[in-house]
């Protein structure tokens, strides 16, 4: 049993009640709760989860962007949240519609998102709109392309 699974489930119910149509879906795998969120409402949802004392998801553990081919969306961004208070973990996911590559930044909610978002932009090419300093962090500044995209060959381009 995943630690704090009960809090995660409560958070799912709470979010459904508070945001309703912003919750697009839900998945549970190996005890981890994942919620699919409307990208436009992501910041609101994040702030609510962080500030609501019932949940207090104050710690953003990780951001992971995934590139997909041949799906109705191109990018998927996963946010892992921890609540120290309830020792609970929750995953939020957004999929920009219409093959878009834009997701609003959550740096205003969790400051730690800064480097996570820079890294995911660098590797996968998701544009975090509103990020105050969105530039490459692992690849050289003049690099072209985003190496973790699925259409980027393993051997590199022009190498």
């Amino acid at each position: 049993m995943e630690h704090g699974a009960e809090t995660a489930r409560r958070a799912v119910d709470g979010l459904r009640a508070a945001f309703g149509d912003a919750i697009l879906g839900q998945a549970t795998f190996r005890g981890e709760e994942t919620l699919f969120i409307d990208p436009a409402r992501l910041v609101e949802v994040g702030r609510w989860l962080k500030e609501s004392p019932d949940f207090a998801f104050v710690y953003l553990v990780d951001i992971m962007a995934t590139h997909w081919l041949e799906r109705e969306y191109q990018h998927e961004v996963a946010y892992l949240l921890y609540s120290f208070k309830h020792n609970s973990i929750l995953r939020l996911k957004v999929r920009p519609a219409g093959g878009g590559d834009r997701v609003p930044t959550v740096t205003g909610v969790w400051r730690t998102a800064d480097w996570h978002e820079r890294e995911e932009w660098d590797k996968v090419g998701v544009v975090f709109t509103g990020h105050p300093n969105l530039k490459r962090i692992l690849m050289p500044e003049d690099w072209e392309g985003h190496p973790l995209r699925k259409d980027y060959p393993m051997e590199g381009i022009g190498a």
Binding site: Y59, W110, N133, M139, L148
Partner: protein
């Protein structure tokens, strides 16, 4: 965020200094662009990526087992700990539970890796501040640990010790006795290191009140590990979300009060003591039994069976050439590595390799605090601050 800067008097002449990527006290290939007002740091901008090897891209093109050697090269000061972290994440995906002896050995090697990593941190940290002697003492003990790692895995550094569902090999004969004897001795060594530093006036003046990371900032910046605990927050995944049977072990979590360089020093020293406690318990209570799960489709069969039986030969052939089949799904599993929360975030579309794998590296995120706490410090203290945050670039750049 734009990097934090200090407000300066109009007319001040600022100096931009490039520090690194090849600099003895940046502990690897970290580069800092420092903006200085005299001796004071106005702005510090880290530049990373000099050791970027595209680990996550490689992972997508390797089977899970083939990726284990790459984890050695993340935090190369504690490869055993990375091996365990990765194996646990994949085992969570597969929903596999390893036998008790395997769990116990994993705890033992993780804590030995923690001691080894902290010994390197202590030695180099002291050298950075001009105390060469400590380095000699810590490296002597680290050498003993490396001998143990070599006896256990065949190599000193690139251990690749875990397998998905178990371990590569059992403990060599006499290993536990030797480790037990060393642990007894090492406790006294630790006291000796402390006599060199803890009350040393130069050490205290160079570290107390320097590089303060307030708790609120540490939490906001996602800092984990000893750096977070030194700021006064009791959070350790080994206690909070125990894995690999840590709940059976008795140990304390040291925390600091002010979050300065000195506190981070004290916390890591105490962590070594606690690691010794855990190792002693692991040595004393080591259970018998198998070291791998009993699943012929996941774990390689014993060599003599491969040579004499058809079925085992086929299993070995399939595992080596194709790998094992993982279910579709997404998991995250983190361990308390020596540097902090090391997590593997895996998206599986089925098949023998991850579709996408993110390595949540503690050093990378901890380093995010560096530009914050360097501002206002003296340029000579930057060296102390970097060492006290204990980043390792293999893990930052991946």
């Amino acid at each position: 965020m734009p990097y934090k800067t200090e407000t300066i008097e109009p007319g001040t002449e600022l100096l931009t200094v490039n520090m690194g990527p090849s600099h003895p006290s940046t502990h690897g290939v970290l580069r800092l662009i420092l903006t200085l007002d005299g001796e004071r740091v106005v702005k510090a901008e880290p530049v990373m990526g000099y050791l970027h090897r595209g680990m996550e891209k490689i992972a997508e093109n390797k089977t899970y087992t083939q990726f284990i050697p790459y984890t050695d090269r993340l935090d190369y000061l504690a490869p055993l700990s990375n091996n365990v972290g990765f194996a646990l994440a994949v085992e969570k995906l597969l929903d596999v539970t390893v036998p008790p002896r395997c769990r116990h050995i994993r705890v033992l090697v993780c804590e030995m890796a923690r001691i080894s990593a902290h010994l390197l941190w202590l030695g180099t940290h002291a050298v950075d501040l001009g105390a060469i002697t400590v380095f000699m003492y810590t490296f002597r003990e680290r050498e003993v640990l490396y001998d143990f790692f070599e006896a256990l895995t065949g190599t000193r550094l690139t251990t690749s010790y875990t397998r998905i569902g178990g371990l590569t090999r059992d403990l060599p004969s006499g290993f536990l006795d030797q480790v037990g004897r060393w642990l007894e001795r090492f406790g006294k060594e630790l006291d000796e290191y402390e006599t060199l530093l803890t009350k040393n006036r130069i050490w205290v003046e160079r570290t107390q009140g320097v590089g303060v990371l307030p708790l609120a900032d540490a939490l906001e910046l996602g800092v984990t590990g000893a750096n977070l605990r030194a700021s006064g927050f009791e959070w350790d995944l080994r206690k909070a979300r125990p894995y690999s049977g840590y709940e059976q072990f008795d140990f304390d979590i040291p925390i600091g009060t002010t979050g300065d360089v000195y506190d981070r020093y004290l916390v890591r020293i105490e962590e070594m003591r606690q690691a010794v406690r855990i190792c002693k318990q692991a040595v004393r209570t080591m259970p018998g039994g198998p070291i791998c799960v009993d699943d012929p489709k996941l774990v390689l069969p014993p060599k003599e069976d491969v040579l004499t039986r058809m079925e085992e030969l086929i299993h070995q052939f399939i595992i080596v050439t194709e790998g094992f089949e993982a279910p579709r799904g997404e998991v995250y599993h983190a361990i308390e590595a020596p540097k902090g929360e090391l997590g593997f975030h895996i998206v599986s579309e089925g098949g023998p390799s991850p579709y996408r794998m993110k390595i949540r590296s503690p050093s990378f995120i901890n380093l995010q605090a560096l530009p914050e706490i360097c501002v206002g410090a003296l340029v000579s203290d930057v060296v102390a601050i970097i060492a006290s945050l204990d980043p390792v670039m293999g893990e930052v750049d991946r």
